[in-house]
Amino acid sequence: MDRNLLGYKGIKPTLAAVLLLTLVQSVSIVLLARWLAEVLSALFAGEPLHTQYNKIMMFLGAFLVRHIMGFIQQKISYAFAERTGASLRKQVMEKLFQLGPRFAKQEGTGNLVTLVLEGASKFRNYLELIVPRMAGISIIPWVILIYIFMQDITSGIILILAMPILIVFMILIGLAARKHTEKQLDTYRTLSNHFVDSLRGLETLKLLGQGRSHSDTIARVSDRYRSATMRTLRVAFMSSFALDFFTMLSVAVVAVGLGLRLINGEITLVTGLTVLILAPEYFLPVRMVGADFHATLDGKEAGAAMQLIIDEPLNQESDMEHAGQEERKLSWTKDSCLSLSGIGVQHQQKGPHSLDQVSLNIHGMGKIGIIGASGAGKSTLIDVLGGFLKPSEGSVILDSQQLGSLTTNAWRKLTTYIPQHPYIFGSTLAENIRFYAPDKAASDVERAAAAAGLSELIRTLPHGAEEMIGNGGRQLSGGQEQRVALARAFLSDRPVMLLDEPTAHLDIETEYELKQTMLPLFENKLVFLATHRLHWMPDMDLIIVLEHGRVAETGTHEELIARRGTYYELTQSQLGGVE
């Protein structure tokens, strides 16, 4: 039983209603069995049919009540599940955006999307099933059992003994099955992944000349996969086999017992038939729980995973924002001053520092290069400056205002961010450019596109700036994606630009042209450019050299070269080239 279950909003009235309906349902089951038995035994005794019409109608009534109760139960449970599932999903969504891109990257885009979509629907399924199943198992068998005891104590004893045996066997076999699966989980995983792994590696196989011969391997591995699966299934199906076996056996034992006692005249035919009809009904709720066991388990886990995201601690200033400081406007002008002091970032407690004791003073507009070997902390610093990440230590002062960090909407509204692979939304080119500033006029969009060197592309597109791009639309090349991001930044008119390795993946000609486009756009802005492409550095007004998460030195290109320090070494080792 899920302890969280009782915590969901609206569970109590739902549960109360379902319990009540189940009670009515179990009474109707008893009645329909009784009335049918009475009709049958009366006919058996030779009574004419027309004397039984009333009873037959009563049976039909009870039968219908039983199923209508089930119908209403399902409806109520579904409505509850839908509401609860949706609210949980909404909380996850909101939380995701609060946690920001760093969390999304860490968890994996695919995982998160699957969790929000598949997870939420599995969870809904679970709620929809668990409520009526729990109500069913906690009422129906007992009501039936009490009635059977009133009719025939021996049958009652058989049935009450069968239930724990059945459950114990089911659990034992379930445990054995799990142990069995766990034991060969690794082989199983390899076997089941083999096919998709082969498809993904098809090009490599072909290039290595192994494409043809590998198809035999696929057949062979598929066959091994089948035997492994069958071995597991043989055990896994045992638990439903046990369920089936004990149910059917109990019914048979009850029936034979009833027959013998009828011969001895200890009971009447009506009692015999009633008990016989009720016996399978007694086991039905347990069998349904067994049948839905895996679906409910999946859903329960999905719900727990979603809850985990909601409970994720928030590394942000949102508390402050809620405290009414939302309105605080920040601005960045040529006289502004940003100082970071003692900034440290630790992704895990007691883990290594990604940034350590970083102190910087930034004045007004200018181009600032951030350079360092891989893992020196370039991207982390950009994340801190862009307000994606709250540092674990240190403080930020902006124009003499003390800020805990830059993770506020007020600061984000001043910045634009261009990563290595800017994301292109599945929308029109114009909409993509307008992303930060949705209200800008078409003429502004056009000017921004021109400044980013997109005019040529737009001319060649069949629908011009209204062409669909991104997922499901036209694919852009790496250089064109950067230009869209540049146009986005240019149109937004925001004073601070952050770029994280914008050109390293491009071919050198595209990089050269893009650099010519970018440099003029950097004028009159505060630009942070993190890269390992050295050619940018002479164009920077200030260079921050990072080493192992610390600021090794700062200065202009000339100053740093003259110092012959870390920067000089870094450049020389890179320029050393290929020996």
Partner: protein, 596 residues
């Protein structure tokens, strides 16, 4: 319909097993029904209070037999059906692989978006359900339908036909109505789901932009609105499922009553004995249970359509566009015009690769991908090819790899046509590309892919050459470490080194490097290039690159644009003569850093 070809042949292959499965399925229902029938009979018989218990001995034994055997039969049925379906899946997989294999080199350009291959593999997995959830239950219900009506007809043909009507509602009318009602809605629901999926993926991938733009709540609101719409459609589907269930139960209730009335009449008419009344009535419940799942089974049919369509399309498109030559060749069952012998002797000698005035376009209507390109590559020459995406580099490589046939001009190795070598090409030309796949097996097996017959020492030597030996030996399981466990530990550069080790084992005279260093940081890139150049001494190299780092080590540098060679020459020549080259070269080696 082409799609059906993914279902039908397997029925033919396994018809024997299918028959057994259906027989077992019917037997399961039969035993459950007979348990109730014999129980009802036993109790009624016992109520007559026979003198001797032996009078009810047979029914007692039957009740016990049916009680035990139903679970056993059902268990066997499930195992047999899963076994058959897994056999089918195995055949489907081999078939999909055989379809995709000839087009392997074009897959990445054809399925640019998403993980199409993963989707196809899931499709096959999903098609299991066609048999398990739809075909078997429907056929079993159908056989039971005919069987039970025939059995009843033995007693009273008119009443049997009357009952046939009730069951007809369950096995035909409800499923048909169900299909009618849910078909459009299921499709809509699926569409909405896909839509939500791409919207959410878009948002998560572009999250930094949403966060910076300050519009995240706008997105959440829009997304929730879509979710609600999807929930509404889903709710309608669920609501119908509930109604369907209720209608089905009403039919069951009515048929029970009809059975009571009929049995009473029969008894009154003296056609059946009193002991059969209860038996006939009680058997209705378990029997009807067999017919209820048919609606659900039929309702699933539209959901298979997408998977079947996708698989069908894969087969269709292998006859057009980019892959037509490849497909033709496969269709001709002739793997190449050159024998394996000839290729072996070619690979053993020095190879002179020549590309003479080659042009290529996919078909008459499309623009030229490549125009009048010539290369001359005697054994040991090293060239670099530079150009933007779409300049024709990949097409040129495919021509050299013998995967495409030039529209005009020739590509030849020691005079043998490259396209004719075809599938034997991996014995002459090795390729190291941007993202070589590392398979989910051990490190040693991954390296061994270069040469299946390689001994452990060869593998260790190759690993040492690519400077991975120390790293691999430091792993707890050494060369036997499964790759998926190294996924976190091996960096991009190290993964490329494993692929390089494969190429070394292949030991071919010609090596194509297709941007193997993209995405690596400069330090790693330089180290990897140094290793590559060092281990590739004496081999002809064709290196497609996007940087000029290492260009000094090449004999010739070729700039491509719009399918043509724009500029070519050695590093020294180009530095001398071309302003453009100097500008580009300065990006990689800025003069400002050339401190004396």
């Amino acid at each position: 319909m082409r799609e059906e070809s993914w279902l039908r042949p397997y029925v033919r292959t396994y018809w024997g097993r299918f028959l057994i499965i259906i027989a077992l399925g019917c037997l399961t229902i039969l035993t459950a029904s007979m348990l109730m029938f014999t129980s009802g009979f036993l109790i009624s018989k016992a109520a007559l209070r026979p003198e001797n218990i032996l009078m009810v001995y047979v029914p007692i034994v039957l009740v016990r037999t049916f009680g035990i055997s139903r679970s056993v039969v059902h268990y066997v049925e499930r195992l047999v059906s899963h076994d058959a379906v897994l056999r089918i899946v195995s055949l489907m997989r081999t078939r999909l692989y055989r379809i995709l294999e000839p087009q392997a080199l074009f897959i990445s350009s054809r399925f640019r978006t998403g993980d199409m291959l993963g989707v196809l593999s899931d499709d096959i997995q999903y098609l299991q359900d066609v048999y398990l959830r739809t075909v078997f239950p429907s056929l079993i219900a159908l056989v039971m339908y005919v069987g039970s009506i025939a059995a009843l007809g033995f007693f009273d043909i008119r009443f049997a036909l009357f009952m046939a009507l009730y069951v007809f509602i369950l096995v035909a009318v409800l499923p048909w109505v169900s299909l009618l009602i849910t078909k459009a809605k299921s499709r809509l629901a699926k569409q909405q789901r896909n839509n939500l999926y791409s919207k959410l993926t878009d948002a998560v991938l572009g999250m930094s932009d949403w966060v910076i733009s300050g519009r995240q709540s706008q997105f959440v609101a829009a997304y929730e609105a879509d979710e609600q719409e999807a929930a509404r459609v889903n709710g309608q589907l669920k609501s119908w499922a509930r109604w369907r269930q209720l209608i089905g139960q009403v039919v069951v209730g009515l048929s029970v009553i009809s059975m009571v009335i009929w049995a009473a009449h029969e008894y009154a008419g003296g056609h059946i004995s009193a002991t059969l009344i209860a038996a006939f009535v009680l058997v209705v419940f378990p029997l009807m249970d067999a017919f209820m799942p048919v609606s659900e089974a039929i309702e699933k049919i539209p959901s298979y359509q997408t998977s079947l369509q996708r698989l069908g399309e894969i087969e269709r498109t292998d006859g057009d566009g980019a892959t037509c030559e490849t497909a033709d060749r496969v269709a001709g069952e002739k793997t190449s015009g050159v024998s394996a012998e000839e290729v072996r002797s070619l690979a053993a000698s020095d190879v002179h690769l020549t590309v003479q005035h080659v042009s290529y376009r996919y078909d008459e209507a499309s623009p030229w991908s490549l125009q009048d390109v010539s290369l001359d590559l005697p054994q040991g020459k090293r060239i670099a090819i530079i150009g933007r995406s779409g300049a024709g580099k990949s097409t040129l490589l495919k021509l050299i790899e013998g995967a495409l046939k030039p529209s005009s001009g020739t590509v030849s190795l020691n005079g043998t046509d490259a396209f004719a070598i075809g599938d034997h090409m991996p014995q002459v030309v090795s390729v190291l590309n941007q993202s070589p796949h590392l398979f989910d097996t051990t490190v040693a097996n991954n390296i061994r892919l270069g040469d299946r017959d390689a001994e452990d020492e060869d593998i260790q030597r190759a690993a040492a050459q690519v400077k991975l030996d120390q790293l691999i030996e430091s792993l707890p399981l050494g060369y036997k470490t499964p790759m998926h466990e190294t996924g976190q530990r091996f960096s991009g550069g190290e993964r490329q080194r494993i692929a390089l080790a494969r190429v070394l084992l292949q030991n071919n005279p010609v090596v194509v490097l297709d941007e193997p260093t993209v995405g690596l940081d400069p330090r790693t890139e330089n180290d990897l290039l140094a290793t590559i150049l060092d281990t590739m001494k004496g081999k002809s190299l064709i290196w497609v690159t996007h940087h000029l780092a290492g260009a000094e080590h090449m004999d010739e540098i070729i700039f491509m644009e719009n399918g043509r060679i724009e500029m070519r020459g050695s590093h020294a020549e180009l530095m001398e003569t071309s302003e453009r080259y100097r500008n580009l070269y300065r990006l990689d080696r800025p003069e400002a850093f050339m401190v004396k």
